[in-house]
Amino acid sequence: MRLKNVTKFHICGLNQEKLLSDLCKKFSLTEIERNSKSDTTFKCSFFEHKKVEKILRERNVKIESVSHEGLAFKAFQILGSYGLIAAALLFSLLYAIQFQFVLQYEVLGLDKLERSEIVSFVKSEFPASKSKIDTEAVETALLDNFDEISFASCIIKGQTLVINIKEKVLPDEMYGEFAPLVAKKDGRISEINLISGTLRVKVGDFVRAGDVLVEPFTIDTSGEQKKVEARAEILAEVYNEGCADHYETYIDVKRTGRKIEQNEITLFGLSIYSFKEDLNFQMYEVEEEEIDLSKNLFLPFKMKKSTFFELEQHTIVSDFEDVKDEFVAKAKEKALKNCENYDLMKEEFFTLRHLAGVTIVNFCIITEEEIGGYETK
């Protein structure tokens, strides 16, 4: 092995004399040998070979081959090799460490259960280390903790824990919340279509809002009670009412347009200035407003502004027959406000009740609508 660190270039191209003359101004060249007109070999320092190569490439000189020799080159080569070996060893070590752990969870065969539910259960109950996971224990734990699972099998494949699950086949009505179906409004039951659960009402019954319509269970032939989802379509005639009162004589109070203003400036609740006009109204109403005069908190000056409006009252006498349509319309409008989500408007009518000086208009709209619902918690 030669100890001198040199790099040998084998180049091809024309006008090599000019190239060598230029190169020798920057680098010391040795053993320059012209093999043919366009073929030359030369050597330079190993530590300068990259710069020489760069110049050759800049001048579009064809480099046939580059070879290195010397102690430094060998050292670089060995170091490079050892670096690779070290990297490979480190990688293997890290891979071996992380290979001991389960990194992924794959759950197969799910239909109604949630994957996240199963994975979070397994993660919380069992360690991630492959050597510490007992797949049989995982299977047993899944069967014990999830009623919906009829069969579970686990295997560790690579770094994935594969959980195969078979769910129990339960009727749809056995899923969901087992809350009773209750009436959302008052009404008379007109039609019942029970899907699941036990009925508590029959057609023609009057129910009030909150009454239980369907219980969330069924009783089988052996008398055993089983939880099911209470589901039914229950239609009822709902009486939506609105009323309007007419008084033959009433007092109408109006503002006359005259007003008086009073201002008061306060600091920490104490009055420090006030301006008050004499209040000579027999009837009045007051509007008050408080305004912050300063924006800082050191001296919180406030102005309290009071406006007094003069009022006058008139006695108005009206005959019901003259305004009957107007009051019926008012009552109907109120009744319509109560009609929400109805399926069918069956009938509407109004009644009049004459009392001493008062006539009460009751407007009733009968709608048919689905009244079953669940109580919101």
Binding site: Q16, E17, K18, L20, S21, C24, K25, K26, S28, L29, T30, E31, I32, E33, R34, K37, T40, F42
Partner: protein, 87 residues
Amino acid sequence: MFNFLNEIKQNLKNPQGLDLNGFNIINLSGQLLYVEGHLGLVMLSKELISFKVKKAVIMVEGRDMILSELSDNTIKITGQIKKVEQI
């Protein structure tokens, strides 16, 4: 550092005031030619190597010649040197 060529130049005393600072060529037994003060290669082959020096071109003829060294200022030619000519 001791320089043999500088010593020679000093001992010659140069009575005619010649310009001796252009280039130096030493031929060692016709096997090695050492040149100082070259200004660039002109021709390179195994039989003929020529290079520029101050106000002239030097032609070296021989056989199996190679440029053992080429730096900014010096040239070292090895091989069988037959003729060194200045033109």
